[in-house]
Amino acid sequence: MARISLRVNGKTQVVDVDPETPLLYVLRNDLQLNGPKFGCGLAQCGACTVILNGNAIRSCVTLVSAVQNQPVTTLEGLGSTKKMHKIQQAFVDEQAVQCGYCINGMIMTSKALLDKNPKPNDGQIKEALAGNLCRCGTHTRILRAVKRASGQRV
């Protein structure tokens, strides 16, 4: 076990965990942040995505010890039901959810995309989301939501 200092959603917190633990389990179980989800543990589906230093990363294969004192943003860091981030609001406006298990990854990946490319075209959105799986088949709505969030006509 080791004491590790994390900077998550602008807050510094110290956790006492096995340093080999993937970040996902620490976020969920130690910090009670349920936004990131376990989907595969293999970096194949995107459900666990968080933003580290501005990049969308897979928290299921990222060791907690590797992100010490680096800024991590989870879905909770974007907004809440009381005050939604524009991407979250766009997903409501487009009703771009079925079960929603993948949606954390869709939103966090889109956030990293829009921060770098505020007006992506359809091809660029699809490319950014290429590694995110959705089993319910909500893709067309998700694409519209990302476009809407970027202020473009859907």
Partner: protein, 756 residues
């Protein structure tokens, strides 16, 4: 976790104590959770069992139907709000708790709106009647002089004389008996009470936004995967790679150095680990050295072996949904006969979030938190597994990952229950990706053999459709056993449920017509990873692929346009005709026969159509594809779907479901096949079992046909039916290659092209 006993009265008062007690679960509906003193299911003949009205006018509905990510929670609330004449936002659907919800049967089969909806609607209609009686006494006016708007009753012509539902009943019980006969899906509730005329609907038929979406988008929603209870430990199950068998040795020293390990659990062939942290449980499950005995059952060597078994094995039960005239005799007299065999592989539900449950097996009381499709089925299964009365088990539903039928078999709850009993503490079990891919009960392989004969005018006079399918062997209840039950030695007492019968050409009328569904035995001595369960529109996709491909094959042989050819056999089926014409119109369908004109370029395009009905919902798909003639890759460019499921409750919610059906079905048609050999399942992750990605998503156009004069029918599954057939027909239209085996891989297309 400490059991909480709150009376309905406390709930009605809306005491703050409940909020404190349940603050672990921030979802609003849980604030109302209450345990009955006994574990018995509430009595459906009591109006108060169905709904309660708080002093602020909030209506809470205690439904046994659950939302699986399909939006039924919103749609059911619309039906209740409509009937009660309260604002939609005033209706809350309490999440299902077996201690206080009505058992309305498993949430499956696209029957939630069709069957569960009217049950809630009728209960609401009785409640409205009772409220009007109370208002009549309060306001001193006869009931027929009263009107209701937004939960406020007023006297017609005297708007000052009014009283709200909250004032009339808030905090009190109705204490009214209603009729409720039958059970589950078939329960008839207060049929004598007249519900609202659909022409007066204001809330039903509107696209109310989904109520649970905002918290799902912010991380505030409590999925089953997010449930944590005090003192909870983490468990993982260790299963053999091939067939279940007994562990011969378990080397506990292999995990003793993992910090946080609590216990290695073995019960007969069931093996698991429990640890204080999730990561420790994962590490221990991976590290634990187990030797397994030789199983008594063998895995089939490959898909061909499975198809051969399906073809050559005697059925244990023959379903015959249609048997008209004498197809054999008509075939012998036909001018020309056709026959073809179609193959459909094992496929996965592929829940994005693997199975997950929390169990707290206390010596007096057992609590399960899970995303099951059947809370009462899970209660029964866990009670039987642990050998306790059902009343000692309470199941609390929390929505999980979309399950598409998979959680009709709530395996993780059994796993969690065994592990919790072994350590005497609450245990959370989540399957790993390879557990889920490897051990989920799968959509079974099917072998469909179709024969038809035409007369000298080219009219089909004989139709003989045989769907050779495995039954569904891993369903909760009906004498079947889930995985952990099998591993502790509980033997199945049944052969399994049928894999559906729709899609075998029943929508058409032929002079001599037979559709049959022989079920081939599939219960094994030991449980295999090729265990089976309902997969969205069970069996329908394969049958519709076979029957609608076959219709196209005949139409093509006769040089007839595929839409026109189908119209000939729809007879009096006006809805079927309307649906087919609607999709053709939306698609801009040009009348001609298939295949289309030969293209000279490297890519060819084609269009295909298919028509499907299931439990009276009718839908039709047109697929437009592009086929790369050198690589064989098929790209579905656009899918157009027309859809008639009677009265539409929430048009946008329905569209969302249809879009999902289309995309999931394109994925199943083009990509999906469970790979296995005699050593086990080879499709154990998303790279060995790929599904459709954003790059290959088709454009989608949907035509909804609303029929307010009809009951509301199912929309969760039917539009899965025709998609594969439409794509297969479009491939033939593009390149003249007829694929009779799914999925439509580049290799199969290239092989077909070499033959043409």
């Amino acid at each position: 976790m400490k059991t909480m006993n709150f009376s309905r009265r406390q709930f009605l008062k809306g005491t703050g104590a409940l909020i404190v007690s349940f603050n672990l679960f921030p979802s609003a509906t849980d604030l109302f959770a209450q345990a009955m003193d006994s574990g018995n299911t509430p009595d459906p003949t009591q109006l108060d069992s169905w709904l309660a009205i708080a002093p602020d006018g909030t209506v809470t509905v205690f439904s046994g139907k659950v939302d699986l990510g399909t939006g039924v929670e919103t749609a059911l609330a619309q039906m209740v709000a409509e009937e009660l004449d309260v604002p939609f936002k005033q209706v809350k659907m309490a999440s299902t708790d077996t201690a206080r919800a009505i058992d309305q049967g498993v949430t499956a089969g696209s029957r939630t709106i069709e069957r569960g909806g009217p049950q809630l609607r009728q209960a609401a209609a009785v409640a409205r009647q009772e409220l009007l009686k109370l208002a009549s006494a309060r306001l001193g006016s006869p009931v027929n002089a009263l009107t209701v708007k937004d939960g406020i009753v007023s006297v017609v012509g005297e708007p000052g004389k009014k009283v709200s539902y909250g004032q009339l009943i808030g905090g009190k019980q109705f204490n009214v008996r209603i009729t409720a006969t039958g059970s589950g899906w078939d329960m008839k509730v207060a049929p004598e009470t007249k519900a609202k005329d659909p022409k007066d609907y204001k809330i039903v038929g509107t696209s109310e936004p989904r109520v649970e979406l905002p918290p799902k988008l912010t991380g505030e929603f409590t999925y089953a995967h997010d449930v944590r209870v005090p003192g909870m430990l983490h468990g993982r199950v260790v299963r053999p790679p091939t067939i279940t068998s007994k562990p011969t040795t378990i080397d506990e020293s292999s995990v003793k150095n993992i910090p946080g390990i609590v216990k290695v659990v073995q019960e007969e062939s069931f093996v698991g680990v429990v640890a204080t942290t999730e990561w420790a449980a994962i590490k221990a499950a991976k590290a634990l050295k187990v030797s397994w005995s030789e199983p008594a059952t063998k895995m089939p060597a490959n898909a061909e072996a499975v198809y051969a078994y399906l073809k050559n094995t005697k059925s244990f039960r023959d379903q015959v949904p249609v048997n008209k005239g004498n197809p054999d005799e008509a075939l012998s007299q036909a001018t020309k006969t056709y026959t073809a065999t179609y193959h459909w592989p094992f496929q996965l539900h592929g829940m994005l979030g693997p199975s997950c449950s929390v169990a707290d097996v206390d010596k007096d009381r057992i609590t399960i938190w899970t995303g099951t499709q059947g809370s009462f089925g899970t209660r029964k299964a866990v009670a039987e597994l642990l050998g306790v009365p059902e009343k000692d088990v309470r199941v609390l539903f929390h929505e999980g990952s979309g399950s598409y039928g998979r959680l009709s078999s709530d395996d993780a709850s059994e796993d969690a229950a065994l592990l919790s009993r072994a350590v005497g503490k609450p245990v959370r079990v989540q399957w790993m990706r390879e557990d889920e891919h490897g051990w989920e009960p799968k959509g079974p392989a099917q072998l469909d053999i179709v024969r038809a004969g035409i007369d000298s005018q080219g009219k089909i006079i004989a139709w003989d459709f045989v769907d050779r399918s495995f039954p569904l062997t891993a369903i909760t209840g009906s004498g079947m056993r889930l995985l952990a039950s099998r591993q502790i030695g509980r033997k199945p007492e049944a052969q399994g449920n049928p894999n559906g019968t729709a899609g075998g050409g029943q929508i058409y009328s032929f002079d001599n017509q037979k559709c049959a569904g022989p079920l081939i035995p599939w219960v094994q001595a030991d449980e295999t990873p090729l265990r089976t369960s309902y997969l969205r529109a069970p069996g329908d996709m394969a049958r519709c692929f076979a029957s609608e491909s076959f219709m196209d094959e005949i139409a093509s042989d006769l040089g007839v346009d595929p839409v026109q050819f189908r119209l000939r056999y729809l007879g009096e089926n006006k809805r079927g005709t309307d649906v087919l014409l609607a999709v053709a119109k939306k698609a801009g369908w040009q009348e001609r026969s298939s295949p289309g004109p030969t293209s000279t370029g490297s890519k060819a395009t084609g269009r295909g159509v298919a028509l499907f009905d299931r439990a009276n919902t009718i839908c039709s798909a047109v697929a437009e594809v592009e086929v790369d003639k050198s690589s064989g890759k098929v790209t579905v460019k656009r899918v157009i779907m027309s859809h008639d499921c009677g009265l539409i409750i929430n048009p946008d919610g329905l569209k969302n479901q249809i879009e999902g059906n289309i995309i999931q079905s394109v994925s199943r048609a083009l990509l999906e096949e469970v790979k296995f050999d005699s050593t086990g399942i080879k499709s154990l992750d998303w790279s060995s079992y790929p599904i459709l990605r954003f790059s290959d998503i088709p454009e989608i156009d949907i035509v909804l046909i609303n029929r307010p004069e009809m009951p509301a029918l199912g929309g969760g599954e039917p539009s899965t039916g025709p998609v594969a057939a439409a794509i297969g027909n479009a491939i033939f239209d593009a390149v003249g290659v007829r694929l009779r085996e799914a999925p439509f891989t580049p290799e199969r297309v290239v092989t077909g092209l070499k033959k043409t």
